[in-house]
Amino acid sequence: MTARRVRSGLAGAALLLGCAAAQAHLASTGLGPVYDGIWHLFVSFDDLLPVLAIALLAGLNGARAARWTLFVLPAAWWAGGAVGFHSGAVSVPAGITSPSLLLLGLLVALDRRLGPSITAALAVALGLLHGGLNGAGIALAGREASGLVGMAGAIFVLAALVSAAALSLRRPWTRIAVRVAGSWIAATGLLMLGWTLSGRA
């Protein structure tokens, strides 16, 4: 048990020491920060894919899980974004978003019953992490924090549509198609992780 803790500590320390500055890749629509925030979600696949994955997972886990996720995900994203924005430049391990893709994709592919509390906890963790990175990116780019409102709104609408679609699936093959989509998301996350560790990202 002690050896495992030491190994985990070393792995955590290695991740933290290998930090890279958060990379801002903000979209610009010319319609103002709120629209920029909305647009950002749909052109940033490292944010879009985990949102799709958690929405699919919530839908597969039933109406209660979907309802919880629908509200806690945008709230956590906004809260994380506010913290990231006010703390300015945040240093995070390079490729920190790849594990969220891998984990959520695997959970969708496995189609395990997690329950509303665990699904909501995953949504909160996802929202805080990605929202924090987005908020820091906005601060770094010197833009207005109201872009976070657009992001949170877009996430609410997208999560509502996707989780409702997953929830309404009745035929067995449609549920399996969602699991296939989850395996694709997990595979993308794993490739991204390798890409990052190889230093090519």
Binding site: H25, L26, A27, S28, V43, S44, F45, D46, L49, A109, W173, I176, R179, V180, S183, W184, A186, A187, T188, L190, L191, M192, L193, G194, W195, T196, L197, S198, R200, A201
Partner: protein
């Protein structure tokens, strides 16, 4: 339907007055996606093996028809991960050729092994395909979009195999599938000869 002069003029005006495309800050992303999309279809050995997975899945029916195409991308990504981080895998080209031989033979023989055996075989060979792709990945492309394109193309090939394999419900379709399996296995022998 005769083209209207106004429409032609509008089209010409649109083409001639078009400003240069301005990419937003994520430059090079589309190139990454397209490159990833094209990579799995750029080699006949990869294409045939992935089609064979779909064909075999269609022959086996549920749940293999879904399990095999889920197993392949996941294990292929594991192989890609190993290739990306520089973990060597011996005999990659031989493994890829062997995948076409074995999977083609399974389709030709209409083999029905236990589900876990089929999944294990498909997953094992997927590692070789993924490793080859992982080591071939060029630097400077968008990693995320490349990966998405890569996975989508692989899934698309499986879906194509499954769609073709649906002819299995007709007697002539079963014969055609077996012939296709034989052709894939023969192509695998050619790939093996080239790899040795």
């Amino acid at each position: 339907m005769k083209p209207q002069p106004v429409n032609v003029l509008l089209l010409l005006a649109g083409v001639l007055l078009a400003p240069p495309a301005l990419a937003h800050v994520q430059q090079g992303q589309a190139a990454g996606f397209v490159y990833g999309l094209l990579h799995p279809v750029s080699g006949a050995d990869h294409v045939l093996a992935m089609l064979a997975v779909g064909l075999w899945g269609a022959q086996l029916g549920a749940p293999a028809i879904w399990l095999l195409p889920v197993t392949f991308p996941l294990l292929m990504a594991c192989g890609g991960f190993l290739g990306l981080v520089g973990v060597p895998l011996p005999g990659v080209e031989i493994g890829i050729a062997a995948s076409a031989i074995l999977l083609g033979s399974m389709v030709a023989a209409q083999a029905r092994p236990p589900l876990w055996t089929a999944a294990l075989a498909v997953g094992f060979f997927a590692l070789f395909h993924g490793h080859a792709h992982g080591t071939e990945l060029p630097a400077g492309q968008s990693g995320l979009l490349y990966s998405i394109g890569f996975v989508v193309a692989t899934g698309g090939l499986h879906a194509t195999g499954i769609a073709i394999g649906l002819v299995h419900r007709w007697p002539w379709g079963r014969t055609a599938l077996r012939a296709a399996g034989l052709a894939i296995a023969a192509a695998g022998l050619y790939f093996l000869r080239r790899a040795l």
